[in-house]
């Protein structure tokens, strides 16, 4: 019988929620790795029982955990992330150059075809890859070696590589995003990269249309139409119809175009979801109302989805990794909040109910659709 497995990373551990395809009743396991920050948990598309988790701590550093049985048991694998060659420098908050220093893994992106191959996006921003199931990690240095590297600078959350999107129709093509450097694309499996930020405008930059320096929060793609990308930027919701070569704004009638996550419906390529947040200094929903906004037109025209979500006195945030969709029919949509709620919709956002209400602050939500 089909069902879903929701993988939740929080400030104090990981949780796994499972349900049958009705998505009404949930079993919760956890906390796994209690007390540690779990930035991301994600399953392999090629083997749903193979999961990877980024476990990190200000005391004890980085651990990568792997499960071969769908999250029932876990074992630590390799945690050595060493920049290739001389680490070099990037721009620091005071304008000086600062050496690249590894801090943590923000995002783990398993290969579409090989359970032992995983990409890791790290802070300070770089892309690593394992091809042995996480035992060893090697940097793909072409990204950090891009000529713009010394000009990258950290956002308030650190200089993190937080988004990795694989193009299923073009095995050598990856998109990544860095706060605050912007979006980059490789067409040769990570050897060379180029910024793909044309059309982005960021008023916080001396040159609002600069080639790099943009604070991209998230990029989403429908796998059947990989040339079309959707982006939630620090401000602005953007769309590209040419694989990132150019972007145009599709914020339309959103109440605010600041936010963190963005995702695409599993079966409708022009249906996208965002969670508007009041501003970059007030990280909570406008008017205390938690609303997901859905566009069925690929942007510009948005409708508020409120059924089952708190519509008063709600001042949580939804972080960039904390939204996902399943591929059941109807498409399920999930998101987690900094208040510890994980909400699910089994009808593409028309109605919502909490899977769980009182977890630690949610950092990431991923969903596996199980046959």
């Amino acid at each position: 019988m089909s069902g879903v497995r929701v993988l939740v990373g929080t400030r104090k551990g990981a949780f796994v929620a499972t349900s049958d395809a009705r998505r009404q009743r949930w079993d919760i396991s956890g906390p796994h790795f209690a007390g540690w920050e779990i930035y991301h948990v994600k399953g392999s598309p090629a083997d749903p029982d193979r999961l990877y988790a980024s476990q990190t701590s200000g005391w004890f550093g980085q651990v990568i955990q792997r499960s071969n049985d769908g999250g029932k048991t876990w074992a630590p694998v390799g945690n050595q992330f060493v920049y290739d060659g001389v680490p070099g420098t990037h721009q620091w908050y005071d304008g000086t150059q600062h050496p690249w220093e590894f801090k943590r893994v923000w995002h783990l992106e398993p290969s579409l075809t090989d359970p032992d191959t995983v990409y890791a996006g790290v802070e300070d921003a770089a892309l690593f890859r394992t091809t042995d199931g996480g035992q060893t990690w090697q940097e793909l240095p072409g990204l950090r070696g891009h000529g713009s590297g010394p000009g990258w600078q950290p956002g308030a959350g650190g200089m993190c590589l937080h988004t990795i999107v694989q193009d299923p129709s073009h095995p050598g093509r990856l998109f990544i995003a860095i706060s605050a450097a912007g979006a980059f694309r490789t067409d040769d499996a990570g050897k060379t990269w180029r910024p793909v930020n044309r059309g982005l405008q960021s008023v916080g930059l001396p040159d609002p249309k600069a080639e790099v320096g943009h604070c991209v929060h998230r990029i989403a793609m429908h796998p059947s139409r990989p040339g079309v990308l959707f982006m939630q930027k620090h401000w602005d919701v953007m769309r590209s119809d040419d694989a990132g070569d150019s972007w145009h704004e599709v914020s339309g009638n959103l109440p605010t175009d600041f936010g963190f996550p963005i995702d695409v419906h599993a079966h409708e390529r022009d249906t996208i979801f965002v969670v508007p947040i009041k501003s970059d200094s007030e990280h909570f929903p406008p008017d205390g109302k938690l609303r997901v906004y859905r566009s069925r037109t690929g942007g510009n025209e948005w409708e508020a989805l409120t059924n089952g979500l708190p519509q008063r006195d709600c001042y949580v945030n939804v972080l960039r990794e904390a939204m996902a969709v399943d591929s059941l029919d109807a498409c399920g949509v999930y998101f987690g909040t900094t208040g510890g709620q994980v909400y699910a919709s089994a009808d593409a956002g028309d109605s919502w109910a909490p899977i769980v209400r009182d977890l630690p602050a949610v950092l990431s939500v991923e969903v596996q659709t199980l046959e």
Binding site: G58, F60, N79
Partner: protein, 98 residues
């Protein structure tokens, strides 16, 4: 036999209960104890000291015999009571919020 006490999070990571007992060849120093500890429990590599520089992580401390040994040189001999197993070598996660 050297006795080592790990903080709770690292005991769980190494899947051990209570004290760890290690055989250390030669002089008993911080480095020798940590080398033996990491050899026995590879999951602890990188969690107490940096993989490459071998520097102690900022919020980890080393105590023994009612002394803070965190700032001792890694190759300095540990107290005789630690070397003899009379006293444990304590690896501590600093009290630091969160």
């Amino acid at each position: 036999m050297i006795r080592v006490v790990l903080p709770q999070h690292l005991r769980r990571l190494a899947q051990v209960d209570g004290e760890v007992r290690l055989d250390v060849d030669g002089r008993v120093t911080q480095r020798a104890v940590l080398d033996a500890l990491e050899a026995r429990y590879p999951a602890l590599r990188g969690t107490i000291r940096d993989h490459i520089t071998q520097q102690r992580r900022a919020f980890v401390r080393f105590f023994a015999c009612a002394q803070d040994l965190s700032h001792e040189l890694p190759d300095a001999p540990l107290p005789e009571a630690v070397a003899s197993g009379a006293e444990p070598f304590l690896i501590i996660g600093a009290m630091a919020g969160g």
